[in-house]
């Protein structure tokens, strides 16, 4: 009796597991398959995963279109700069939080934690005027500076936690030898913290690569657009070229997908710490 009860549960669980897998993965598989198809085959009835029109033609079309390549270059430049600046500024702040007690520490800390609660749309309204006044509209700087507000808090919180696990004796040893705090931070603490920096850097890259709202409003020229906006523009311009839109989407997802697959452990740890929104 008990045995067959358990068997039943296992069957139900397996069915659920498979249904869940289809629910999660089917849209993604469909995107990939569509990117390989001819436009006329995408809406064939009955639909097929693969058919005789399968080719990489849409990918070639994306790569030979200089404007689409430009979207990728823009996204890499912006995301790359955001990662570097976030790590640099964030590590300095994390060092202060981890190694000093100072008046106002609590206030600064709550300011940093509270950023997550501020809706981006609220910030965007004044940003528009500010960015124009600073003559940064339609530049990489507009995006890099505004992205920092969303990427810094996670970096500071994670790196403070990381530095807190490292003994203060490490920096004291450097200072006894006549080195400065600055030297202790960059010469000793930062090199040991590399794993923490990799995971923070990965998250920061994802956030910057995926950002949509600020990029939509703070850039205007097509050649300044990032990949998410580029994909969105395709929806308007080539409304019928679904194959190319899907190829562009697959290509636009690859950097983040690679990070996800290689750094799964960090990814999951970061996710369950609730630091990052998708």
């Amino acid at each position: 009796m008990v045995g067959s009860y358990k068997k039943h549960i296992k069957v139900i669980m397996t069915v659920l597991l498979v249904i869940g897998g289809i629910f999660a993965a089917f849209p993604i598989v469909w995107m990939f398959c569509s990117s390989l198809k001819d436009n006329s085959a995408i809406f064939s009835w009955p639909p097929k995963f693969f058919d005789e029109t399968a080719s990489l033609a849409s990918y070639v079309a994306v790569f030979t279109d200089s404007m689409k390549v430009r979207f990728f270059i823009n996204s890499y430049i912006v995301a790359g700069c955001v990662v570097l600046v976030t790590l640099f500024v964030g590590i300095l702040a994390a060092y202060a939080f981890s190694r000093f007690d100072f008046p106002g520490k609590g206030v600064f800390n709550s300011l940093i934690v509270s950023v997550q609660a501020i809706p981006p749309i609220v910030l965007l309204i004044p940003y528009m005027g500010m960015i124009v006044a600073l003559k940064l509209f339609d530049t990489y700087f507009a995006l890099i500076l505004t992205y920092l507000i969303t990427t810094l808090p996670y970096c500071i919180l994670m790196m403070t936690g990381y530095f807190n696990t490292l003994s203060r004796e490490l920096d004291e040893a450097v200072m006894i030898d006549g080195g400065s705090r600055w030297k202790a931070l960059w010469g000793v603490l930062v090199p040991i913290s590399l794993p923490g920096m990799v995971s923070v850097g990965m998250y920061t890259f994802m956030q910057a690569w995926n950002e949509y709202l600020f990029a939509l409003a703070l850039t205007q020229k097509t050649e300044m657009r990032t990949v998410p906006i580029g994909i969105n523009l395709l929806m308007g311009q080539h409304a019928y070229d679904w194959s190319q839109m899907m190829a562009m989407s697959v290509l636009g997802s690859i950097p983040v997908l690679i990070l996800f697959i290689f750094f799964q452990k960090y990814f999951i740890a970061g996710m369950s710490s609730g630091g990052v929104k998708g």
Partner: protein, 293 residues
């Protein structure tokens, strides 16, 4: 006080962060609140202080209340569905009926929707929801369902579709957090419950749920704040339409600011949204403190 003395050291390390936070966070928030108290903010060189007139106008606007009601539906449906689906998937991934290998592969597959950026999520669902797309093909297997449903341009369906898509791309966050929580519950609790003759339902209600409660409350509140702010997928799929049926607060504010160029009213609505988010955030921080103690 010496500029390079010991006392200023922590502030020197904090300086870049502080400057960024003041310029791009504190000042903009003050600006937005100021917009809400003046007439013709930004567009006029000399905006007049109008007191609470903008708020009176906002609360009298039926479009605002439509946006509020859409947002509440969107947020409540999303958060509840995320919680249920996240819980089911986390329990599957934690079950003793599957091998570790199966569970590892399933976990990767289940997280996938979270990895894709909003514009990819939007475009890929737009493809599937086309009248001659795959969703209608699958639906045509069911009796009495039209083969040509216009999912996104039907004002009675659009909000439900948007909710569904948001559920699809948001549950992995819950699943991972709940899974971490489940793995932290001692097996002894279940064993002694089983010896006492507790059924699976009973041990779920009396062990799993109470043990997970702090995590569930935290993630639901975080998700509540995020969903309240969500803009991207909705903007790309429907732009708030058809006939404002998917217009949430973020979309309403964006349209006021960047289509109607009415920064005063946009600032007013934004301030209302900000206050709500900050209010929930305060509860969230309190909850986090309680968990730590």
């Amino acid at each position: 006080m010496k500029l390079f003395g010991k006392k200023t050291a922590p502030y020197r390390y904090l300086l870049p962060t502080l400057v960024l936070m003041i310029v791009f966070l504190v000042v903009p928030i003050i600006m937005v609140i100021r917009y809400s108290f003046v007439d013709k903010a930004v567009v006029s060189p000399d905006p007049q202080f109008v007191g609470l007139a903008n708020y009176a106008e906002l609360f009298a606007d039926s479009s605002f209340w439509n946006a509020v009601s859409n947002t509440i539906i969107f947020v409540v449906v999303s958060v509840v569905a995320h919680l249920v689906i996240g819980m089911i998937f986390a329990m599957l991934l934690n079950s003793k009926y599957f091998t570790n290998r199966t569970k590892t592969i399933a976990r990767v597959v289940y997280i996938l929707p979270w990895v894709f950026t909003a514009s990819v999520v939007a475009i890929l669902w737009k493809l599937m929801l086309q009248p001659s797309g795959i969703i209608n093909y699958l639906m045509s297997a069911l009796p009495q369902v039209s083969r040509n449903t216009e999912w996104l341009s039907n004002k009675d369906l659009a909000l439900a579709v948007i909710c569904f898509i948001n559920i699809w791309c948001g549950y992995p966050f819950y699943m991972i957090s709940i899974l971490a929580g489940l793995q932290g519950i001692s097996g002894d609790l279940y064993e002694s419950a089983a010896i006492d003759g507790a059924t699976l339902t009973k041990s779920f209600l009396h062990i799993t749920i109470p043990q997970l409660k702090p995590i569930l409350i935290s993630i639901a509140m975080l998700d509540f704040i995020w969903t309240l702010q969500s803009f991207n997928v909705i903007w790309m799929l429907t732009g708030g339409g058809p006939v404002q049926s998917t217009e949430t607060l973020s979309i309403y504010i964006y349209k006021l600011a960047f289509q109607k160029v009415d920064y005063s009213m946009a600032g007013t609505a934004a301030t209302v949204l900000l206050v709500v988010c900050v209010f929930i955030a305060i509860f969230y921080v309190r909850q986090q403190k309680k968990v730590r103690e």
